[in-house]
Symmetry: C2
Subunit: 480 residues, 2 copies
């Protein structure tokens, strides 16, 4: 093949540059611990390094790879640093990166079964595996009435669940005639903001999202939920969706699924459960009490791209009745018709989420499960929880600090007793130091620091170092 | 580090297995041409090769990679085969695969500027580059009132545009109070099914989507659009969204943007333009007539993951007024508050699409533009168009075949004159042969074959061979 003519990277060039990129990534992981976790750049600083015009002629790959160091790295906040304790983790791992690379290389579209049967069947199978290894009810498996699908994020999963709930409550007439302002959704004051976003997107309106108050552990109070639903029904409104959370973003609170589930079942309301980060804990049998009551859920999601060492994007979304979801989202134009679809013997995942196109995302999850094995995943999760609990004890033993709430698992919410301003200063100084990155929330209107132990490469020594830095920084702030 | 203790792939293992995967992909591209394009497996055949339970203990990477050949490859429909002429292409390329690998390796979340400034700034900059190299109006650039963002798909882009249009038409009260059944959206009978899906998701209802009739070239008839809008206003309805298409999925029809744009401007309706596949043509100045009238659009999208050699997912979505989009989709919980956001000096892309989380998708597009250069992209696009036009001439010169519509660019819609049954047989035999893959549509109720020339690795000889196979197969069908 005439290289000049095709301009494409030849397989041999791909081998050479592919190795260079693999080495770049391996080098990156060897030194990521030494890089400032939170990028110190100012707005516009990265853009200023880029030429104003795209190149007319192609550039050598070597030059492009150099720019990864010169341009990109200074502007990276290192989510893969073992000193990353902010937000929730967004983990990568060797097998996951390589699984994703295989997906990029194959470059298939899995919108229909027929457009790449393996893309659909491996995903269905690996999601059934996942349901089993997390101890989820059989109804969430494809061999039952339901099944799993990989979504890009818990935000999109929540939206799809809301849409299915909306349609079930209106006998699929909202799809047909549009919303009428009477549909109501429920969550707690601690539920992730994506539910508010979903309620707006789905045409319910923010006013029709009821944020139910929480108890002292920041968990939804089911009696208030029941009262609110009854009140809304009496006003002629149509309750259609409840979102409960296993591990809220602020504080890892666990909503009481058995009580919420009973309310939803009695009222015929779609119950979606969001276990985005904490759901991964259920890989360990001893932590499955966290999802007690999950059998009441109509849908459930958790994100292996958070705590299960699988690159973004990988949200596992399970439904108990796949027919309801498919009926909600299906479209079938002529140009997508095919024999396999019409036989009814296959899954066409295009009807399970918002986009039509989809890549082979299950490869990375398949590789993660196979590389670590279920026991390996359990071991890693247990260690993260153990270290977070140790950290919580250190907080309790230091009179300058207090826990904002007992940490159920791997997220510790704590604060300096000196008040919001002191805590803000401690956090800002810690993050500016580049040695550690943590973020905050507000609990009962008080600024609260969050330390989430879940990064792939975090070892006990990183948690120990983080606590030492926090103590030292608190000393510095007190003196200044 | 104690390997047994961590279970993670060490950097050295990552180098070794990374090379193996790079080689696997290079080998794949060296032989993809010889593989049956459409996977011949039966439903359930791939799943049957997978063990019923996930492994308890981790498996060696070598064994996993073997399963790519044993389990996965037989179930792949080869979108990266040069003999793939079906649907629209979903291209990969060397630089894109490696850009995506770098993104997986860095594993950053770009939901906020502060969570990785480079992820946001490279994306903003590359989208500005893209606007320039496609000859788009300056209002779509971040340096103007608008800007670009990478979405997963044109489906999601259409949905976001619809939401912004819905909110602008109701002064942001649909977000607040919900839809009221009076909002109306417009497209043509040929518009992609994702618009129907979006209308249902956004709570407008399918009944409130007007599918305006088309002319003999399958382009929307703007006078009918104007009449329908007026009729709807007279009925007390609220027109909020028009979706026009540059290159419809069935036949690559081009809706008349200047006329549609004037209607939308007069009526104050959000005009979204979908150039998912064909939009890439505008990289060549001589093809920019296709997007004449784009200055009327409030939003525009095209998919480098179709024809611009960039792996899925990469839809470039441009808005003229970023404030309208951001106002529509923004949420700001405490745990995402940060100084950079509050300074107003940065873009937080979480407010530009449905999901919260987002990976560093611009790396792959950046690498594609830099590897090929703008001139390189132009060269490749021109050749695809040239070959498609040659193919169309061959069809015209063969009395057994006819063009269903003059092909504007790189998609040829044609059929055997023998009727639907003959065409179905020709297509089924061709696809079963594994030597070529093409799909169909219906135009004026007649089954029509589609041949889209746009796969990265397609050369003229593949188009010649496809035509020869079509002719031979037609002979065979006529005789049987």
């Amino acid at each position: 093949m005439d290289e000049k003519k095709t301009l494409h990277m030849t397989p041999d060039d791909f081998r050479r540059y592919g190795r260079a990129v693999v080495d770049w990534i391996a080098d990156y992981y060897e030194r990521v611990e030494s890089l400032p976790v939170l990028s110190p750049v100012k707005p516009g600083q990265i853009r200023a390094l880029l030429p104003p015009e795209p190149p007319l002629q192609g550039e050598p790959f070597e030059k492009i790879l150099e720019d990864m160091n010169r341009v990109v790295l200074p502007g990276i906040t290192h989510w893969q640093s073992p000193n990353f304790f902010a937000f929730f983790p967004a983990n990568a791992s060797g097998p996951s990166i390589l699984g994703d690379l295989l997906s990029s290389g194959l470059g298939v579209q899995g919108m229909l079964w027929s457009t790449s049967p393996a893309c659909t069947e491996v995903e269905t199978h690996v999601l059934d595996w996942t349901a089993d290894m997390m101890g989820l009810p059989g109804k969430f498996k494809s061999t039952g009435s339901g099944g799993g699908v990989i979504q890009d994020s818990a935000s999109s999963a929540s939206l799809c669940a809301l849409l299915a709930g909306r349609e079930r409550a209106t006998k699929f007439m909202s799809n047909e005639k549009g919303c009428d302002g009477r549909l109501v959704a429920y969550a707690s004051t601690q539920t992730h903001s994506s539910v508010e976003k979903a309620v707006k997107i789905a045409g319910l309106g923010r006013q029709n999202l009821r944020l139910v108050d929480v108890d002292e552990k920041f968990a939804l109070r089911p009696n208030l939920l029941r009262e609110q639903i009854q009140k809304d029904r009496q006003s002629g409104l149509v309750p259609c969706y409840v979102c409960a959370t296993i591990g809220t973003t602020s504080s890892n609170a666990i909503d009481p699924l058995p009580e919420i589930g009973k309310v939803c079942r009695q009222e015929g309301i779609w119950l979606h459960v969001d276990g985005a980060m904490l759901g991964t804990a259920a890989v360990c049998p001893e932590y499955r009490y966290l999802q007690e009551g999950i059998e009441y859920a109509d849908s459930y999601c958790f994100n292996p791209h958070k705590w299960m060492f699988t690159n973004f994007d990988c949200d596992c979304f399970f439904v108990a009745e796949r027919a309801a979801l498919i009926h909600t989202l299906s479209i079938l134009p002529e140009y997508l018709r095919n024999q396999a679809t019409e036989s009814g013997a296959v899954i066409d995942y295009r009807d399970w989420h918002i986009p039509l196109g989809r890549r082979f995302r299950s490869l990375k999850l398949w590789l993660v499960i196979r590389h670590y094995g279920v026991e390996g995943l359990r071991y890693l999760v247990r260690r993260h929880v153990e270290w977070a609990q140790k950290f919580a004890r250190w907080v309790q033993e230091d009179k300058r600090f207090e826990l904002a709430v007992p940490p159920p698992m791997n997220l510790v919410c704590f604060r300096h007793v000196g008040g919001d301003e002191v805590n803000q200063k401690i956090m800002d100084r810690l993050n500016l130091s580049g040695k550690v990155y943590l973020t905050h929330t507000k609990l009962k209107d008080r600024l609260t620091l969050r330390l989430c132990v879940g990064q792939t490469h975090t070892e006990e020594r990183h948690v120990i170092q983080a606590w030492r830095l926090i103590q030292e920084t608190a000393d510095g702030v007190s003196k200044s």
